[in-house]
């Protein structure tokens, strides 16, 4: 049985920063990238499981949003976090020919990295959804292409056995316990752990670890995105944003109740 773990880390568009270019049109170029939140849970879990499995950890990142020149800094920051947290080496696929990407490009590129570099992880960990697209499909696609077993929405990794892994999976109304044969792809939920930020020493060490930046041709891949984005519009909900600032808490309560009374939402 192999002992290595691969972690899929996405540099996602940051949904906390949504700006308009003009009337309602989403300004994608302005939006910075950041590591997708749940990928931090995947990295934390990889750190824990590395202690059990004892193998290597590598992170794989495929740049979806471009142009790559403008994204370089944000992308590095996300990958450095993976390296600082747990990864021994990082693989990053950056290719302006397939930007903006889609799940077809991303999953093929991930599999391309593994195959061309001869990497055979026994576990591949990913987040349950990215914070920009949240389609939850890349981990499953990767599993199908590699012939790995797949469990999505993992809330706990209970046990790693010789040849299998026992996990709890979150479904809408219930939680199930499953045994999946290794090698396996798992997507994890936020509840699996409490990610700790990397320490200063870890951050310093990260800059000495290998980071391989690859183009599609470097991994012998010829794939094109199939999705064509036509239009992106900001959903605007007008909010009054009134701050209730009064000398005392009593006054603030009274003022708030006055506002709510005027809105007609108190007497229901």
């Amino acid at each position: 049985m192999g002992r290595d773990i691969a972690v899929l880390v996405k540099a996602s568009l940051n949904p906390e920063i949504v700006r308009q270019v003009s009337e309602g049109i989403y300004d994608i170029d302005y939006t910075p990238l950041k590591i997708s939140d749940v990928d931090r849970n995947a990295l934390e879990e990889a750190a824990r499981l590395k202690g059990i499995l004892g193998g290597k950890v590598y992170s794989i990142t495929v740049l979806t949003w471009g142009p790559s020149k403008a994204r370089d800094k944000d992308l590095k920051l996300a990958v450095q976090e993976a390296l600082a947290k747990v990864a021994d080496e990082a693989y990053v696929v950056v290719d302006d020919n397939v930007i903006p990407g889609d799940p077809i490009v991303t999953s093929n590129a991930i599999v391309g990295v593994l195959k061309s570099k001869g990497l055979k992880p026994t576990l591949i960990l990913a987040g349950e959804a990215s914070v920009d697209e949240s389609t939850s499909q890349v981990p499953g696609r990767v599993a199908a292409k590699l012939g790995y077993s797949y469990v999505g929405y993992v809330r706990r990794v209970l046990e790693v056995r010789e040849g299998s892994v026992v996990v709890e999976r979150d479904v809408e109304e219930y939680v199930e316990t499953l045994e999946a044969p290794l090698p396996a792809v798992l997507s994890v939920t936020q509840e699996i752990n409490e990610p700790r930020p990397p320490t200063l020493i870890q951050i310093r060490m990260a800059s000495r670890k290998p980071l391989y930046t690859l183009k599609l041709s470097d991994i012998g891949l010829d794939v094109k995105p199939k999705r064509l984005i036509r239009d992106m519009r900001v959903i605007t909900v007008f909010r009054k944003q009134v701050l209730v600032e009064e000398a005392s808490m009593e006054k603030a309560v009274e003022k708030l109740l006055e506002y709510l009374e005027r809105e007609g939402v108190l007497r229901v």
């Binding site: 949504v18 799940p103 999505g152 939680v175 045994e179 909010r239 701050l243 809105e263 939402v265 229901v268």
Partner: protein
């Protein structure tokens, strides 16, 4: 041309059949609850293939074999976890596009044109992908199809599965319909313990409100039942009044409350993002603010609590 419908619950079948009709002749693949209540699913007059299982892997294998034999132009289904996990495997092995949480879809000739949320639902995206395609949709985006005589039911056998089920545990659910409440108090990690939530419940009592919360409060800490979390991966609410207490205002939470008429935020951090997304904000420690708010409301509505 065929359009394959994945039905997980009999209640989703009518809408999915109606959508599929816009693309081809619907054929249903019944899975999980729809497999055990197959008569309800067969009532739409389409042929039904049945896989008696609730495993995503079983659904994937069944859908794969039907894909090979029927050559459908589109596969439609609900955006649930089991269906997403199954169709992600299918999309990966066929290298075909898959789109999820779709709210609008139409046939654009050689492509599917669709609309869905993006950026934790703060943006809508319109895009197109070439056929064949997997399109998982949100509920209630179309009127259900009329029932039309009983379709033929054919059982599918998918053979051995790789992933074995060891046990199932039901989640603790409250059954409270936050979606229908007129006033909702949302509690966040600003509360320091489960006991402290009584401050929110006391306020709720006097306002005739329901109490919901952020995902970490319900799913992680389990201070509230699991059907009480509000947001992109939980409930979407549309009350007249939403009072968020000790909630930071993460986009994944706020997309679930954007349909509220009035939003009030109570947070001790003046720079918390929620203040930009609220109608009325109070910068205050909830432990000091809530008791005063509740007692003032008691004076105002003496009959209530």
């Amino acid at each position: 041309m065929k359009a394959l419908v994945i039905s997980q619950r009999p209640s989703d079948a009518g809408e999915l059949v109606a959508l599929a009709k816009g693309f081809g002749e619907p054929v249903i693949l019944a899975f999980q609850e729809s497999a055990s209540k197959v008569d309800e699913v067969a009532a739409y007059g389409c042929r039904v293939y049945r896989v008696r299982s609730d495993r995503p892997e079983a659904l994937y294998k069944a859908a794969f074999s039907l894909y090979e034999s029927l050559n459908p132009k589109i596969i439609v289904g609900p955006s649930t976890k089991n269906v997403k996990d199954a169709t992600a495997l299918l999309a990966g092995s066929l290298d075909i596009p898959m789109v999820t949480e779709v709210v609008e879809l139409s046939d654009g000739g050689s492509v599917l044109t669709y609309k869905r949320g993006f950026m934790s639902e703060r943006v809508t995206m319109k895009a197109e992908v070439p056929y064949p395609v997997i399109a998982l949709v949100n509920p209630k985006i179309v009127e259900p199809a009329e029932k039309a005589g009983r379709g033929e039911v054919i059982d599918l056998n998918v053979g051995e599965l790789k992933v074995n089920i060891v046990g199932v545990r039901a989640k603790e659910l409250s059954g409270v319909k936050l979606e229908e409440a007129e006033v909702v108090i949302g509690v966040g990690r600003g509360f320091k313990s489960k006991e402290d939530l009584k401050l929110a419940f006391e306020l709720a009592k006097i306002l005739n409100a329901q109490v919901g919360g952020t995902r970490p409060i319900a799913a992680d800490l389990k201070w509230l039942p699991e059907d009480a979390w509000i947001g992109i991966s939980g409930k979407k609410i549309t009350p007249k009044l939403y009072i968020a207490v000790g909630v930071s205002g993460a986009p994944q939470h706020m997309s679930g409350v954007s349909g509220s008429k009035v939003i009030v935020a109570v947070n001790k951090d003046k720079s918390a993002p929620i203040f930009k997304q609220a109608d009325y904000g109070v910068v205050a420690d909830l432990y000091k603010f809530l008791p005063i708010l509740t007692s003032k409301l008691r004076e105002k509505f003496p009959g209530r609590a």
